[in-house]
């Protein structure tokens, strides 16, 4: 039989990790600031192209991770609602 545990704090933690990564991906893409370190030559421009040249995919990924992170938050909240409601219900209180 397949079993699984639901741990709301862990779900929220995963959601926060995904949101952190989404934020990092959103704020990435300004490698020109590091170009000075390379001095004259092609490497600085090549690095700028490498790290900054996937902007469209990066922003789409950030969007997807934001949605997944938000889903984790909603799921964690839903579980808390469920847990709290059941707990109250078993004690004879309201179940909302």
């Amino acid at each position: 039989m397949t079993t699984y545990r639901v741990d709301a704090p862990s779900v929220l933690e995963v959601g926060e990790r995904l949101l952190d990564l989404a934020e990092s991906l959103t704020l990435m893409g300004d490698p020109a600031a590091d170009r000075w370190a390379f001095g004259p030559g092609c490497s600085g421009a090549a690095l700028e192209d490498l790290l900054g040249g996937w902007r469209h995919a990066r922003l789409r990924m950030a969007d997807a991770l934001t949605v997944l992170g938000e889903a984790a938050g909603t799921a964690g909240g839903a579980y808390l609602d469920l847990e709290a409601g059941v707990s109250r219900g078993l004690r004879g209180g309201p179940t909302w």
Binding site: T2, Y4, V6, D7, P9, S10, V11, L12, E13, V14, G15, R17, D20, L21, A22, E23, S24, T26, L27, A33, W36, A37, F38, G39, P40, G41, C42, S43, A46, L47, D49, L50, G53, W54, R55, H56, A57, R58, A62, A64, T66, L68, A72, G73, G76, G77, A78, Y79, L80, E83, A84, G85, V86, S87, R88, G89, L90, R91, G92, T95
Partner: protein, 390 residues
């Protein structure tokens, strides 16, 4: 002629390499987590399909991005080593070259003084000065040769590094030429558009150029919005309206785009955020607020056994215990039914992955909650303990 030093910082390149390493590992770890989540869980239903569509391509994109970052580490560090070594050689050559020329000038002043004092070129003292000048000039030439050779080695290392970085950039997540052109047009157009803010009577040609530039930038934004689903229709509309009215649209958009942000490494970076970045940041902040709300609720939610009276006797086999046990069985059965409905057959991979899968599956049970949670209120009982379904 004087020799110049080589610009750049090996430590700076190493710092970039370390950042690439950390970023690449983080991307790769997340890609692996998402791949396990995608491959390890079977989840039928509309919510599962929507979730699957979101997660389907995410690991692949993250893996490619990780490949870019991790692949750059070795060539960057190799280049940093060469840069450091050749900068030292070049600096030594620059110093030797300058010192040699200074010595040559002093010798020349000595020679002039000897000639003015009546010495001839055949004079042994003047001959010694000339010989010393030749020796110094040899030093000058050696320094120039060392400088040139160091620059050649540095150029070769730079070319090798750039070639590897260029090869890494040749993948399927790179921006297309059209996209890059539109981004440049947007950036440059809005930049020139700032000129439109100049009073016309002071600089009429520049103001006119600014209006044209703002129009180009706005047009590029519109194409990005339509073609790449990037940006905001509202922003494009505001900029376009401002452009039509002859007002500097930049004043509407730039103020909102410029800001100082603190990156994940804690470093504050002043940067211009584009519309798409701002939209995503806003969505992320909204989601983060929800997570924080959920955390607050977690802290405030009644603990599962908090209301159980520790000293209350548990009547084994009593009516209260049987009623409570029956309630738990009913709730568990209904939760299990909801789980079967979602067909979360298995959760694979790391613990968090399984937890996440299970947690997300609950998202789809929101509508089922009224059926899962007992509808009737049980009679109030003292010392009744509650248990959550696990």
């Amino acid at each position: 002629m004087s020799l110049g030093p080589v610009e750049g910082s090996a430590e700076g390149v190493r710092a970039v390499a370390s950042t690439c390493d950390a970023t690449g590992r983080r991307l790769a770890d997340t890609a692996a987590d998402l791949a396990r989540l995608r491959d390890g869980a079977v989840w039928d239903g509309p919510a599962g399909e929507a979730f699957g569509a979101r997660i389907e391509t995410a690991p692949a994109v993250l893996e490619r991005a990780a490949h870019r970052y991790l692949g750059a580490v070795a060539p960057l560090r190799a280049y940093a080593t060469v840069l450091e070594e050749e900068q030292a050689v070049v600096q030594h050559a620059v110093t030797a070259h300058g010192d040699a020329w200074d010595a040559y000038r002093l010798l020349e002043q000595r020679a002039v003084a000897l000639v003015e004092a009546g010495a001839t070129e055949a004079d042994p003292v003047l001959l010694a000065v000339r010989q010393a000048q030749q020796d110094v000039m040899a030093t000058v030439l050696r320094a120039e040769a060392a400088h040139a050779a160091a620059l050649d080695r540095l150029r070769a290392a730079d070319a090798r590094c750039a070639a590897v970085l260029g090869a890494l950039a040749d993948d399927d997540i790179g921006d297309s030429v059209l996209y890059r052109g539109l981004r440049r047009a947007s950036s440059a157009g809005h930049g020139v558009g700032m000129l439109a803010a100049l009073p016309t009577r002071f600089a009429p040609p520049l103001a006119a150029a600014g209006v044209v530039g703002e129009g180009v930038g706005t047009l590029a934004d519109g194409v990005l919005l339509v073609g790449y689903d990037e940006g905001s229709a509202r922003d494009v509309g505001v900029a376009a309206g401002a452009w039509v009215l002859g007002v500097a649209g930049q004043s509407f958009t730039t103020a909102a785009k410029v800001g100082t942000v603190v990156g994940p490494d804690g470093v504050a970076v002043a940067r211009t955020l584009g519309t798409q970045e701002r939209i995503l940041m806003g969505a992320g902040q909204t989601a983060r607020t929800r997570l924080q709300d959920a955390r607050v609720r977690l802290m405030l939610a009644p603990p599962t056994v908090a209301h159980a009276a520790p000293s209350a006797p548990v009547v084994v086999g009593g009516a209260a215990a049987r009623l409570r046990a029956a309630g738990v069985r009913v709730v568990r059965a209904k939760v299990a039914a909801a789980g079967r409905e979602l067909r979360l057959v298995r959760a694979g991979g790391a613990r968090t992955v399984g937890l996440y899968t299970a947690g997300v599956s609950l998202h789809a049970t929101l509508k089922a909650l009224p059926h899962v949670v007992p509808q009737e209120r049980a009679p109030q009982r003292q010392g009744t303990s509650g248990r959550s379904p696990r």
